[in-house]
Symmetry: C2
Subunit: 467 residues, 2 copies
C-alpha cells in the first residue's frame, strides 16, 4: 500500500496527549492504514496506524504499537480506517417502499404512488422502516444520517436503539396549517442533543413549492431564536427552478434568500436546479449553507442536471454526499454516492481531472460532516473528534493491487468492503455482523404490514406534486 | 418476493426431459427464485425453483422438489439464480495497473502511462494479472469474458485453470507488420474450442486508428475463410469519430463497412462515437454485429457521449455489458455496468421510462451472450444451455423488502451479493469462497514484480495514441 503524500502532522497527532496513559482505553485499533487530513485538509494515509478511543472520542492516531491496556482491541491488518460516512439527506423509513414505483418521472412517482401510500403510514411502519434503513446504513459504513420525514419521534427512538448518529427534522407543509411548523419546532427542541448527544435536530420545511414564504420566513425566525439548524429541499431539479421563476419571478434559492433562510445554518437537499443567477445569491448568504447531493436518483429520474459541485466549491459551500430515500434511489449506499459524484462531475464538467478521488474523499469526510452541522465533531480521524470510524477491507481481488489508495477507495472498493462500523466508540457492526439490529425480524414484520401500507384504493394523497 | 409476470412456459420447461431420471444429476439447486426468459424473451421469475445440471448443461428448470439423486446439492433459499454475467469487453491482465493513471484524459493515460508500462510487460505479468482478474470476476458473478490483449496463450492457460468461460483474441496493430495479424490468426485457430469448449476465439485488430484498411480487409477475409469471430475497438469516443472523418472522410463504422468487417460476426467495443450517419451503415451489416458498453470508463474519461443503446436496439443490434480493463475502469464489476447502463441511458435519453430494470437484465443476459458469439449456449437458464449460473443473496437489508425483483437486482443488489458462481456446472465460488484461485498468493507475487513493470524511465511505448 502506498502513502503518496507524507502527512507528518497526522503521524504524530495526539501522541503527546496520553496523559492518562496508565488507565485503560475503551478501544484500540491497531495495524490499520488511517485516512487523515493535514492542516490544509489534504487527505493522506498513515500506514501501520494505531487509533486510541476513550470516552467516545478519538484520543490519538499514531504509528506503531501503543503500550496501553484497552477494554477492546481490533487488529485491522489489511484494512483502512476512515471517518464513518454521512448520509446528508435521506428519508430513512422510505426503505419500506424500495422498488414500489420504478422507471417513472417524479410527478407520477409522487402523485400516483408515494404520496397516496404515505397517507396510510402508521408509526409502526416508520419504526420498521427506520430500523431496516439503519441496518443498511451501518452495513454500508454510514455512521450518521440527516433525516427529513414524518413521525420523527419514532425515528429518534430507532436512532437511539441502533447506536447511530443522526440529525433529525420533522417535515412539514404549509397545507398542514400552523400545526406543521409547531410540531417541527417542538420535535427539534425536545430531541436536541439526546441519545447521549448522538441526535441533533433541524427545523424541516419540506420545500419552497410546498411551504409558503410566510412559513419559510417564520422558520428562519425560529431557527435564529432557538439556534436551530434548517434542512429543506430546494431547487431539486431544473423544472422546479423554471416553474418557480414563472410563478414567482424568483428561483427557489432567491426565495430562500428573501425569507431569511440563507442567513441560518441551512442544509439544502439536491440543488440540481441551481442556476447561474443563484450563485451571487448564495455568495451573500451569512449562514453556514451546505448542499446534499444524491446523484443516483438524479440519473434515475433523468433530470438534465446534477448538483453544481464545482460552482458551489468556488463559493466555499460544502457539498455533502447523500442517497435521498430508497423509494427513489433504490439504495442508501453512500459509498456509491461517493463514486457516482466523482464520475458524474467529471462527465458534466467535461474534464477527467475534475473531482479527483481525494476531492471525493474530502466530500465524503469533512464536507459531509459540515453539511449536517457537525464539522467540529466528526468527519476526520483526529484527536478530540467523535470516534465514528469504519474499517474497510482491501484484501479482495477487486481492490488489488493498490497504486493509489484514494482511487482504490473511491473507484474500486464497495460498501460491502466495510467490515466494521463504530459510532461514538461503540462497535455497531463487527466483521459484517450487525450488533444492534435484527434484520430477519424486521423484514418479517414489515412484510406482514405491507398489504395495508401499499393499498391505494382510497384515492387519497398527503400532498400534490405541482411545483 | 413477487413474480410480477407469469412465465408458464418456463415453469414447466424441461420437466419432460427427465428420460434419465434414475441416473444421478451432477448438481441440483433447490428452493431458489430463478430468472427465466419466455418465448418473447420477456424476463420473469420462477419461485421455489429447482435447477438440474448434468454434463455441464442445464437439464431442467422446474418448481418444487425433484426426486432425483445428485452428486451435489445447493439449498438456495433467499437467493436468486440467474445466468452468469458476461464481461463483453475487457483486458483482464490490466488489473495489474488498476489506479496507476488516475483522473487523466485518454491521451495522457495511454501515452504517458499505459503504453510505456506495457512495453515492460512479461508473460508472468500477464499470467498474474489474468489470475487476479478471474478471481475478481468470479467473485462478482461473471462467468464469461471477452478478452482482447497480448500474450493470449497465457490468458488462455489461466482461463482454463480458473474454470471460467472466455472468448479470447490476440490484439494486433499494423505497426507490428504482417506478424501481428499472423499471430492473431494463429492464436485464434490453436485455441478455438479448447478448455473443454469453454474457450472460443476471435481475430482482434486493435482499432481502425491503429490498424490500416488493408489489414482490416485482410482480417475480414480471414474471418470468413476460417469462420472466426472478430473483436475490435471502434468509434470508442466522439473525438475518434471526428478525427476519422477529418482524416479519411469516413467514420470508424464506415471504415468497418468498407473493409468488409460488418459482414463478419463482429464485436465492437464501446461505440460511444457512433453517429447518426452510422446507423444506416450498421443496418446494412450482413454479419452478426454487436456492441460492448462499459459506461463507467466513459464517465471517468469525461467522454461527452455514451453507447447509443436505444438506437442500436432499434436496429436489432445486441448491446452487451462490459467493464473494459481495470486500468481505466478501476473495476471488473459487470453488475455495476448493468446498473450504470440503466442510469446513464435514462439520463442521456432524458426519459426515466427508458431502460427499465427488465431491459437492463436482458442486456445482462441474452444480449451479452449474443455479443460474445454464445447466444445459443449461455445467457438464459433454459434446458440445453450451458450451466453458467450465479446465486445472488437477497436477504441483506439493502435488498429488502422486494416490491419489484428486477429493480431489486439491478438497482439495489451489488456484485458482492453473489454468493455462488458456477460455470459449465462446476462451482468456482461457493458462499464467497474462491475454489480455483489463491488471491493472497497472486497479489504477493504481483507486488514483487511491480517495480520492474511500472518503470517508465526507458522512454519507450508500444504505440502512440493519435486517433
Amino acid at each position: 500500500m502506498t502513502s503518496p503524500e507524507p502527512t507528518p502532522d497526522a503521524k504524530t497527532a495526539g501522541s503527546n496527549s496520553s496523559s492518562d496513559a496508565k488507565t485503560a482505553a475503551d478501544l484500540i485499533i491497531t495495524r490499520c492504514t488511517a485516512l487523515v487530513h493535514d492542516d490544509q485538509e489534504q487527505i493522506g494515509f498513515v500506514e501501520d496506524a494505531t487509533i486510541v478511543v476513550r470516552g467516545g472520542r478519538i484520543e490519538a492516531v499514531t504509528t506503531g504499537p501503543v503500550d496501553l491496556p484497552a477494554a477492546e482491541r481490533i487488529d485491522a491488518r489489511g484494512q483502512v480506517a476512515m471517518p464513518g460516512l454521512v448520509n446528508c439527506h435521506t428519508h430513512a423509513p422510505m426503505v419500506t417502499l424500495r422498488g414500489i414505483a420504478e422507471d417513472l418521472p417524479i410527478e407520477e412517482w409522487f402523485n400516483d404512488f408515494v404520496w397516496p401510500i404515505e397517507s396510510n403510514l402508521q408509526e409502526k411502519d416508520v419504526e420498521l422502516g427506520a430500523r431496516l434503513a439503519c441496518a443498511e446504513m451501518i452495513r454500508g459504513g454510514v455512521t450518521c444520517f440527516a433525516d427529513h420525514y414524518f413521525s420523527m419521534d419514532t425515528v429518534a427512538a430507532v436512532t437511539d436503539e441502533s447506536g447511530m448518529r443522526a440529525n433529525l427534522g420533522q417535515a412539514f407543509f404549509s397545507s398542514q396549517g400552523a400545526e406543521g411548523q409547531e410540531q417541527s419546532l417542538d420535535f427539534a427542541l425536545r430531541h436536541r442533543d439526546t441519545a447521549g448527544g448522538r441526535i441533533t435536530t433541524s427545523l424541516a420545511p419540506h420545500a419552497p413549492y410546498t411551504v409558503d414564504d410566510a412559513d419559510l420566513a417564520a422558520t428562519a425566525e425560529l431557527a435564529r431564536e432557538h439556534g436551530l439548524f434548517v434542512h429543506i429541499h430546494a431547487s431539486e431539479n431544473r423544472d422546479q427552478a423554471d416553474t418557480s421563476l414563472a410563478r414567482h419571478g424568483r428561483t427557489p434559492i432567491e426565495i430562500l434568500a428573501d425569507t431569511g433562510l440563507l442567513d441560518t445554518d441551512l442544509l439544502i437537499a439536491h440543488g440540481t436546479g441551481i442556476m447561474e443567477r443563484d450563485l451571487p445569491v448564495l455568495a451573500r448568504a451569512t449562514g453556514r449553507v451546505a448542499v446534499a447531493s444524491a446523484p443516483r436518483g438524479y440519473l434515475k429520474f433523468a433530470w438534465p442536471t446534477t448538483t453544481p459541485v464545482r460552482a458551489l466549491h468556488e463559493l466555499g459551500i460544502s457539498v455533502g454526499l447523500a442517497t435521498d430515500g430508497a423509494a427513489s434511489n433504490s439504495s442508501l449506499d453512500v459509498w456509491e454516492s461517493m463514486a457516482l459524484t466523482a464520475l458524474v462531475q467529471k462527465f458534466t464538467e467535461g474534464d477527467p481531472r475534475r473531482l479527483t478521488s481525494r476531492q471525493a474523499l474530502h466530500h465524503a469526510t469533512l464536507q459531509s460532516a459540515r453539511a449536517v452541522g457537525l464539522g467540529e465533531e466528526i468527519g476526520s480521524l483526529a484527536p478530540g473528534r467523535r470516534a465514528d470510524i469504519i474499517l474497510v477491507d482491501l484484501t479482495g481481488p477487486h481492490t488489488q493491487p493498490v497504486h493509489d489508495l484514494a482511487a482504490t477507495l473511491v473507484h474500486s472498493a464497495r460498501s460491502g468492503d466495510v467490515r466494521t462500523t463504530i459510532v461514538d466508540g461503540r462497535i455497531l457492526m463487527r466483521d459484517r455482523e450487525l450488533l444492534t439490529l435484527d434484520v430477519p425480524d424486521i423484514v418479517r414484520e414489515m412484510n406482514e404490514r405491507m398489504p395495508a401500507l401499499i393499498d391505494r384504493s382510497h384515492g387519497k394523497r398527503i400532498q400534490d406534486y405541482d411545483t
